[in-house]
C-alpha cells in the first residue's frame, strides 16, 4: 500500500509544487480544498471554499448551526455522497491528488471520521476496533490484536476496557463510546481524522479527556474538528476557520481568529455578539 501511495504522489508531483507555491503559510498541505461548491438539490450549501489543512496540526471549523461547516467536513472523505440528490463542484486534494479520482473506500480509509453521536456497532469492544482492519483485508490475529491495543491506548481507553474487550460496546458510557469510535477510526491508521462535533453530547470531563487525546494523536494523524464550542476551538486548534451561511469568512491561526480577526463577522461571532 505504501508503494502505491508513493506512486500516486510522484505522478502528481507537479501539482504539489504548484499548490505549494500558491500557499505561503503551508508548504505541504495534507488536504487542499479548491473553489468547493456543494449543493443539496438546488440549495447551495457551500460557496467556493478554498483552504489548506496543515499536516500534523489541529484545524477547527466554527460557526453558527447550518453554516456548512459539517457539510464541508463531510466532503473531505466524500461522506456526502451517501446522501441522495447532492452535487459537488471544485476539488479536494489529498497529498495533491484529487480525492474524486480515487476509489471511495481508499479515500475513506486514509481520511477517517468520527461522528457527532457516538455510533458503536452492535458488536464487542474488540470487534468494533478491529472492524476497519478486517474490512480492509487484514485478518492476521497478531496484527489485529496489536492494532486494537495501540488504537485503544491512543484513544485513552485501554486501561478502562482491557479486561472486558469481549463485552458489547453498548455497555460503555457515552464518553467511552465516543473514545471507542475514535479508537476504531485510528485502527486503520488514517492520515487525516475528521471529527464532527465529537463532544456535543458529552459532559465536561468526558470532553476534556477527548481534547487531551486529540492533542496526543496530533503526532500520528492530521486532525480536522468541527465544533460549536468556541473555547474548545481556542484550546485545541492550531488553525481555525469561521463559516457563515456556506462561506468561509476567515481562516487563520487560531490566535489571530480569536484575538485579532480581520473580518467584522468573525469578531462579532467570537466575541459572542451573535450566534
Amino acid at each position: 500500500m505504501a508503494t502505491s501511495q508513493n506512486q500516486l504522489a510522484k505522478s502528481a508531483a507537479a501539482p504539489v509544487a504548484e499548490t505549494a507555491g500558491m500557499q505561503k503559510t503551508q508548504p505541504t498541505p495534507k488536504l487542499h480544498s479548491q473553489s468547493l461548491n456543494f449543493f443539496y438539490g438546488s440549495f447551495q450549501a457551500l460557496h467556493g471554499i478554498t483552504l489548506d489543512i496543515a499536516t500534523h496540526k489541529i484545524t477547527a471549523f466554527i460557526g453558527p448551526s447550518g453554516c456548512g461547516k459539517s457539510t464541508f467536513l463531510r466532503t473531505m472523505n466524500r461522506m456526502n455522497e451517501t446522501v441522495r440528490n447532492t452535487r459537488v463542484e471544485g476539488e479536494i486534494l489529498l497529498d495533491a491528488v484529487n480525492i474524486h479520482d480515487m476509489d471511495v473506500t481508499y479515500v475513506r480509509r486514509r481520511v477517517g471520521m468520527v461522528f457527532q453521536k457516538s455510533n458503536p456497532f452492535p458488536k464487542s469492544i474488540f470487534d468494533n476496533v478491529a472492524y476497519g482492519l478486517r474490512v480492509n483485508g487484514i485478518h492476521k490475529h497478531s496484527v489485529i490484536d496489536a492494532a486494537v491495543e495501540r488504537s485503544l491506548r491512543h484513544a485513552a481507553l485501554w486501561e478502562e476496557v482491557k479486561d472486558k474487550l469481549k463485552k458489547p460496546a453498548s455497555a460503555l458510557s457515552g464518553g467511552q463510546q465516543q473514545r471507542l469510535c475514535i479508537a476504531r477510526a485510528l485502527a486503520v491508521e488514517p492520515e487525516v481524522l475528521l471529527l464532527d462535533e465529537p463532544c456535543s453530547a458529552l459532559d465536561p470531563i468526558a470532553t476534556l479527556k477527548i481534547e487531551e487525546l486529540l492533542f496526543q494523536i496530533k503526532d500520528i494523524t492530521t486532525i480536522v474538528i468541527v465544533t460549536h464550542n468556541m473555547q474548545q476551538a481556542a484550546r485545541l486548534a492550531d488553525y481555525t476557520g469561521f463559516f457563515l451561511l456556506g462561506k468561509l469568512i476567515e481562516f487563520d491561526e487560531t490566535r489571530t481568529i480569536f484575538q485579532n480577526p480581520s473580518k467584522k463577522e468573525t469578531e462579532d461571532y467570537v466575541t459572542g455578539r451573535f450566534g
Partner: protein, 284 residues
C-alpha cells in the same frame, strides 16, 4: 349548560362501552371454543403411535402420521430455502438501495402477491414444477409454499433494516468498508433478532396451508424418499381424513389438527421471545 344533554352523552357512552365489551368477549370465546374443541378431540385421539406409525389402510383402525409429520417438516424446510433468501435479498435491496419510486412500485407488487389466494399460488407451482416433471412431488409443494413466503419475507426484512439507525451505516463506510460489506456485517447483524423472528412467524403462517399442497405435494400413505415423490403433509392429511367416512380417521384428523396447532403455536411463541429479548447491544 343543559344537564339533560350531558346525561344523554353518558348513556351513549355506557351503551358503546358495553357493546364493544360484549364484542371483545365474543372474539375471545370464539378463539377459546376452537382451541378447546381441538384440545378435547385432539388429545383424546393422540397417542404414541400417532408419531411413530404410518397411516393404516382404509378399514383398519389405529396407525399414525409419522410420514406426514416428517413430510410437513421437509416441505417447510424447502419453502424456507426458497422463500427466505429471495425475500430477504429483495428486502435488502428495497431498504438499502432502491430509489423512492421503484421501492413504492415493488412494495405495491409485493403486497399484491401477498393477497393472491393460496390456491392460485398452488396452480402456479403446478404449472411450473408438476407439469414439466409429470408427477407430484415434495419439491412442487416446497416451491408453492416458498412463493407464499416471499412477500412477508420482503416486507419484514425491509422494515427491520429501515429501523437500524443510519449512523451505523455511516460508521461502516467511514472506515473504508464498501456499502455491501457495511450492510451485511453491521446493518443486518443489528437487525438479526427481528429478521429471524419475522421469518419464523412467516413459516408458521404457511405451515397450515392446505390448498396449494393438494395438487403439488398431493399426499402419500407411505414414506416418501427424496424430494421428487409425492409426500404426505399434516394439513392435507387432515383434509383427507376429515372427509373420509370412517370414524377412526376423524379421530386421526383431530389429532393431526392438534399437533399442527401446537407446532405453529410453538414457533410463534419462540419468535416473540426472540423479538422481546434481542441480541445484546442492538437496541440503543
Amino acid at each position: 349548560m343543559d344537564l339533560r344533554v350531558s346525561s344523554t352523552r353518558n348513556i351513549t357512552n355506557a351503551v358503546m362501552l358495553s357493546l364493544s365489551g360484549v364484542c371483545t368477549i365474543l372474539v375471545i370465546s370464539v378463539l377459546f371454543f376452537i382451541l378447546g374443541y381441538l384440545l378435547f378431540h385432539g388429545i383424546s385421539a393422540l397417542n404414541w403411535n400417532f408419531f411413530t406409525q404410518l397411516p393404516k389402510p382404509s378399514g383398519e383402525t389405529g396407525g399414525g402420521m409419522a410420514n406426514a409429520i416428517v413430510g410437513s417438516g421437509k416441505i417447510l424446510l424447502l419453502a424456507t430455502c426458497i422463500g427466505v433468501p429471495i425475500g430477504f435479498l429483495a428486502g435488502v435491496y428495497l431498504a438499502e438501495y432502491s430509489g423512492k419510486v421503484f421501492a413504492f412500485t415493488i412494495r405495491y407488487v409485493v403486497d399484491l402477491l401477498n393477497g393472491v389466494p393460496s390456491i392460485v399460488i398452488g396452480i402456479v407451482a403446478y404449472a411450473l414444477v408438476v407439469r414439466p416433471m409429470k408427477h407430484y412431488s415434495a419439491l412442487a409443494g416446497g416451491v408453492a409454499l416458498g412463493i407464499m413466503m416471499i412477500p412477508i419475507a420482503v416486507r419484514t426484512t425491509e422494515e427491520f433494516l429501515r429501523a437500524v439507525p443510519n449512523s451505523l451505516r455511516e460508521g461502516g463506510v467511514a472506515l473504508g468498508a464498501t456499502r455491501a460489506k457495511t450492510i451485511f456485517t453491521i446493518v443486518v447483524p443489528a437487525a438479526i433478532s427481528g429478521l429471524v423472528s419475522g421469518m419464523m412467524l412467516n413459516l408458521a403462517r404457511v405451515a397450515g396451508e392446505t390448498a396449494p399442497l393438494l395438487f403439488t405435494a398431493l399426499g402419500n400413505m407411505f414414506w416418501s424418499r427424496g424430494w421428487l415423490q409425492p409426500i404426505a403433509t399434516l394439513p392435507v392429511m387432515i383434509y383427507n381424513d376429515a372427509i373420509a367416512p370412517e370414524e377412526d380417521l376423524h379421530r386421526q384428523a383431530w389429532a393431526a389438527g392438534f399437533v399442527l396447532l401446537f407446532l405453529v403455536l410453538a414457533i410463534n411463541v419462540t419468535a416473540r421471545m426472540i423479538i422481546a429479548r434481542g441480541p445484546a447491544g442492538s437496541r440503543r
